[in-house]
């Protein structure tokens, strides 16, 4: 056996034993990522449901009640209260008891009787722009339905053409072209798939950087780094021995996360698992590289952990794991290219959800590999200097 490998094995054994004795760290490492991922999957749900609708019916006629019935047929509205005048509804909205309310004017029935267009007012609390937009859509769709059926009470055949929960717009009028959306890769529109597939690698990456920095700085803190430097081992061997147990652990974490995602949320794995593994390995390397780099500039574990606070949140936010990169301001879109996590998130989604072709995935894999190698090399150079 060549001496280099022997030395590496000896050092790696030492690291494994140290890690094994540190039961708290092991539990900290293996349990939370999966739990966090599951909470994420359940908690992040942008679907808007049960909008609290208030109704101010100043007309109080059969026609206005018919109109209200047509509106509230939409399952997403929940009529909480009826008001006598709009002032009361405004107050209720200010007290956050309502999400939106409709004002039906006193001359509603009269106007309809003259075959003119009656005008109703809709007031929406728009602080949450996304919810407001969706509420607006639901409202418009109900209204269009009402108009399309000529104010007749529910026409089931017409409504059956669309699922109420999903569509916020009415089908095209008869005779006109119609557009049929087909949802590829996630036909059931499971929200959790998007977040879980994005966040599993982010969580692994953050853990890798935290643990690697903690382990690397620990020797410095306790002063045992001098003893290590005096051994015949090269710095490269030392760094490899130090990081390989972490690396193995991180791969376990990543696969545990993938397992949890498939079991709990039914996330499909449609592409090649080896690609996921290779990309995961590069991402773990990049994470470890960042962790060791942080360790080399900090003097104590506490400092190292605080520094990871500077580094990790921006990497997470720019990775596109929680909000699509296309929606960000242009400057952040450009910045996201220097975020290794961006490539990892793309590959994970490509492999699990899309079964993306190799031509589309390899540039991402190459970029990720580039980042892993550069980060790890820098950390090796810096590690030598301590």
């Amino acid at each position: 056996m060549p001496p280099a490998i022997r030395r590496y094995l000896a050092l790696a054994t030492k690291e494994v034993q140290q890690l094994r004795r540190n039961r708290v760290l092991l539990i900290q490492l293996l349990l939370p990522p999966t739990v966090v991922l599951i909470i994420f999957g359940f908690a992040l749900n942008p679907k808007v449901r049960d909008l609290r609708l208030g109704i101010v019916d100043e007309s109080l006629t059969a026609q206005s009640r018919n109109f209200v019935d047509a509106l509230t047929e939409n399952v997403n509205f929940e009529v909480t209260r009826r008001f006598l005048n709009s002032k009361q509804a405004e107050d209720a909205m200010k007290n956050l008891d309502l999400d939106l309310f409709v004002v039906i004017p006193a001359d509603f029935a009269v106007t309809l009787g003259r075959a003119e267009t009656a005008n109703v007012q809709v007031v929406i609390d728009a602080v949450d722009a996304n919810t407001a937009q969706i509420a607006q859509g639901y409202m418009r769709s109900s209204l269009d339905d009402y108009n399309a059926t000529g104010g007749a009470s529910s026409n089931v055949a017409f409504r059956a053409r669309r699922t109420l929960a999903r569509s916020t717009h009415p089908s095209a009028p008869p005779g006109a072209p119609d557009v049929y959306p087909a949802y590829l890769y996630n036909p059931g529109l499971v929200t959790a798939w998007y977040y879980v597939s994005g966040l599993m690698s982010v969580i692994m990456f953050i853990n890798a950087s935290l643990v690697a920095s903690a382990l690397a700085v620990k020797e410095k803190e306790t002063g045992t780094i001098e003893q290590l430097l005096m051994t015949p081992a090269q710095t490269g061997e030392m760094l490899l021995a130090k990081t390989s147990p972490v690396f193995v652990l991180m791969m376990v974490v990543l696969f545990a996360a993938l397992g949890a995602a498939t079991l709990v949320f039914g996330l499909p794995v449609r592409g090649a698992l080896w690609l996921f593994t290779v990309a995961g390995a590069f991402a773990a390397l990049a994470g470890i590289g960042i962790g060791v780099m942080i360790a080399t500039v900090s003097r104590s574990q506490q400092q190292a952990q605080l520094l990871t606070f500077f580094v990790n949140p921006p990497l997470t936010m720019l990775s596109g794991a929680t909000s699509p990169i296309e929606n960000m301001p242009a400057i952040f879109q450009k910045l996201s290219y220097i975020d290794p996590l961006r490539y990892m998130v793309t590959i994970v989604r490509g492999v699990t959800l899309k079964n993306a072709p190799w031509e589309a995935l390899w540039p991402n894999l190459a970029a990720l590999a580039g980042f892993a190698i550069v980060l790890f090399a820098i950390s090796a150079v810096r590690f030598r200097k301590i």
């Binding site: 007031v123 949450d128 409202m139 095209a172 072209p177 959306p181 996630n186 952990q305 605080l306 929606n327």
Partner: protein
């Protein structure tokens, strides 16, 4: 009172010496708030759309034009050999529009030709929105080009969007981000300061001194609440500059609740420091509970009622839930005490609860004087 002040001064001297901490306390909130406020956006724009026009008539081109003119879609060139599935699988388009042959002829005959839109639904939320946009565009095409018989409109609707007429996303996330920042950093500083006493062993001196538990805790907390107020000023200024904050007409609600919130955060951090006794563990605890849980469950991203009830109860123990609501009430809705009273009371209860837990933890070790 004097003892509390002395304890606070001691903390301040310790804090002043740690450059990294000062940087963390002052610089980080700004950077993170900017990032968190502006990267989180659910508005879709310029979604690449691959187009397969098998009809290629004036009407089909007009139909495409409707999509091209909208802000949500951007028509991208396509490779003639590539199938729509391939284009979507390799991220060249997020959606593919397929117009069938005889589109124009069928439309003129009133035959309702069906156009297909394939959407990449890996982001299911965006996919739903895209489907809806497409249907809206389709209706507007039908109306503009008079290809359908005119519908008698019985009822029209006028809309008013209160508080945020431009439907701007940064306003919403910017206010939430301030809430997160004002929790994370004070809690972190409190946790570090407390855990350090245990690590260095100076906690024994605190036990042995004539300070009571309450005095020790208040003295420590005083400094970090003060730093939190500095953070508030910084974050609020940033909000005014970038996120279109408005000055509330009754700032007293915001001020009182910020004080309570900062206290809740600092006490929570100190509790973490007390119970773990090590700085690294305290940092992780704060990161996990104060940051991650608040990020997910406080209504910062998505409304709390969307969270499944099994874990929804957790959010009522998070100070951020109430504070973010109050911030949005004051800054965006500009409503006063009558609306925000309940959340303020809840905040006060939480702050007192965490304080009480601290006192219990300290009492256990304190000598009876």
């Amino acid at each position: 009172m004097k003892k509390i002040w002395a304890q606070a001064m001691k903390e301040f001297k310790l804090f002043r010496r740690d450059k990294l901490l000062i940087m963390l306390a002052v610089l980080m909130p700004v950077v993170m708030m900017y990032l968190a406020g502006s990267t989180a956006s659910l508005r879709l724009r310029n979604i690449p759309l691959v187009v397969y026009d098998y009809d290629n008539t004036p009407l089909s081109r007009t139909y495409l034009e409707t999509y091209g003119a909208s802000l949500s879609f951007r028509i991208v060139p396509r490779d003639p050999k590539e199938s729509p599935e391939q284009a979507l699988a390799s991220w060249r388009g997020r959606a593919a529009l397929i117009i069938p042959q005889n589109f124009e002829r069928d439309t003129r005959r009133g035959g309702s030709p069906i156009v297909q839109l394939l959407i990449d639904a890996s982001d299911s939320n965006a996919a739903t929105a895209l489907g809806n946009y497409a249907q809206a565009l389709n209706s507007s095409f039908a109306q503009k080009n008079a290809v359908s018989r005119a519908m008698p409109r019985l009822v029209s609707m006028s809309q008013r969007l209160w508080y945020n007429p431009g439907l701007s996303n940064p306003i919403y996330f910017g206010t939430g981000a301030m809430g997160l920042m004002l929790l994370l950093f004070p809690a972190l500083l409190g946790a570090l300061a407390t855990a350090r006493e245990y690590e260095v062993g100076t906690i024994i001196q605190a036990y042995a001194s004539s300070l009571t538990a309450v005095q020790w805790i208040l003295g420590k907390a005083l400094l970090y609440v003060a730093i939190g107020i500095v953070n508030l000023v910084i974050c609020f200024t940033l909000g005014l500059l970038i996120f279109d904050y408005r000055f509330p007409s009754d700032p007293s609600v915001l001020l009182v609740s910020t004080l309570l919130y900062l206290m809740a955060g600092v006490f929570f951090g100190m509790m973490m420091g007390n119970s773990t006794g090590s700085q690294s563990a305290a940092i992780q605890g704060v990161q996990m509970c104060a940051f991650l849980l608040s990020l997910l469950l406080s209504g910062y991203l998505f409304a709390i009622r969307n969270i499944p009830p099994q874990i929804r109860w957790l959010s009522s123990f998070l100070p951020a839930t109430y504070y973010i609501q109050i911030v949005r009430n004051s800054i965006l809705r500009d409503v006063g005490w009558s609306t925000s009273l309940m959340p303020v009371v809840a905040l006060a209860l939480l702050a007192f609860g965490y304080f009480f837990l601290n006192v219990i933890q300290m009492r256990k070790m304190q000598f009876k004087g």
